[in-house]
Symmetry: C2
Subunit: 226 residues, 2 copies
DNA sequence: CAATTTACTGACCAATTGTTCAGAAAACGA
DNA sequence: TCGTTTTCTGAACAATTGGTCAGTAAATTG
């Protein structure tokens, strides 16, 4: 039972069709939590309706089916993410690109942890609804970056032991981890939640690891001795 | 009550209670796949029974409830994993320890991808059934390793920019990724499955990244130029 | 205001869920 | 062989699932 108006744009005189937009968003937000936690099969419309503060039958007025709702939710998530997938150029600075990628992904995962877990849940199932997205736009985006990484390696701008795809997967997985495995991270660190300073610290560490592995880090205090 | 003899040895003339052992294993194997794919709520006894080739009611002869089956499955999985959590000593060689950790985890994830995904699914839910495992034995194990890593850093045997817990999470997440996000990895690399040479290559890359980040790698071809 | 579109609901449906149980079938020990 | 234990099953259970629909309520438009 969410608040009646959680409102950014509060309904005063209400533009036409505003109810629709507001309720669709409410339903999607509720569905995000439920599907992220219990998966597609395990998530029920009743649970979503309850968390959205609406009648169960009302969900099917806005979305034609459970599957339709799920797909719409995935589309909203992908749209949000796509806006953050900035392009890169061969002439950019590798260290700059990699650090900003790590920081951006970490911020994204922290801002939308539910969406991140939803994505994880979908891929865990074998990505039945996202197969075309993975094979299409996402692969195109990844290949573009992998190609540029490969060029940087050829040019000697990065350690040649780096595997472009594996590097992208490393950044993806290490950042995603703090959403998908949040329960484990919190249990193992004895924390209750991760705050801004944690994000900063983790980002520092990951950037260091990535840059060092790519041969781009200043070897400050290089563990000299034996 | 419990299995009369849980001996591994297979049934030739059929020892007493062998049927029980065999069918329990069959059910657990089937449940692993179903729960890993659809989560606890989303996995149905009907689906498990069908994949196990048994009648639905028969599952509840061996396991008292769906929850009981799920818990037994998690216990089997944790028991398998615990046997691979070898201890380490402060006087071990850091590079040796880290590489063997990466390789072992990668092999584990590849050998038991379903179990890995099952674990991911449970943690995604907030680890409702594994909370005590995370807070207890796993945390003890992680803290022990983190302490030793911290000592190595103090001694100057590892780069002091390394965060022990974050390093463990990095190794965990990057290896786990190849099971949990298998669908994505395959789609983005255009592969049908990962073979031994892939595992070798990925292991090489991850070991390099980890060692370099810890200041333990030979700076072979250090991406010199600018 | 009235007319019309949009929003919402409760009741109902067939299918599936986990679970129980009496009893059949099979395996076992004698 | 017989008697006992173990294994297995089909039918039935209450509850819940996604989905439909007729009809009501609210909002928007004129």
């Amino acid at each position: 039972m969410a608040g009646k108006r959680q409102g950014s744009t509060a309904p005063d005189t209400l533009g036409a069709g505003a109810v629709r937009v507001r309720n669709q968003a409410r339903i999607l937000d509720a569905a995000e939590g439920v599907f992220a936690t219990h998966g597609y099969r395990g998530g029920s419309l009743s649970a979503i309706a309850q968390e959205a503060g609406l009648a169960r039958a009302n969900l099917l007025y806005y979305f034609k089916s459970k599957r339709g709702l799920y797909v719409a939710l995935l589309e909203r998530t992908m749209a949000r993410w796509n806006s953050l997938l900035e392009e890169i150029d061969i002439n950019d600075d590798p260290a700059q690109v990699l650090t900003s990628f790590v920081r951006a992904k970490l911020a994204l995962v922290r801002r939308y942890p539910q969406a991140s877990r939803l994505f994880a849940s979908e891929v865990l199932q074998g990505a039945p609804m996202l197969q075309t997205y993975l094979d299409g736009p996402l692969r195109t985006w990844v290949d573009a970056r992998a190609t540029i990484l490969a060029r940087w390696i050829e040019r000697g701008q990065m350690d040649q032991r780096v595997d472009p795809h594996a590097l992208i997967f490393l950044i993806w997985s290490t950042t995603q981890h703090y959403a998908d495995y949040e329960a484990q991270v919190l249990a193992l660190t004895g924390r209750k939640a991760l705050d801004n300073s944690d994000e900063q610290r983790i980002g520092d560490f990951l950037c260091h690891m990535v840059l060092a592995g790519c041969g781009l880090s200043d070897p400050e205090r290089p563990a000299g001795s034996l």
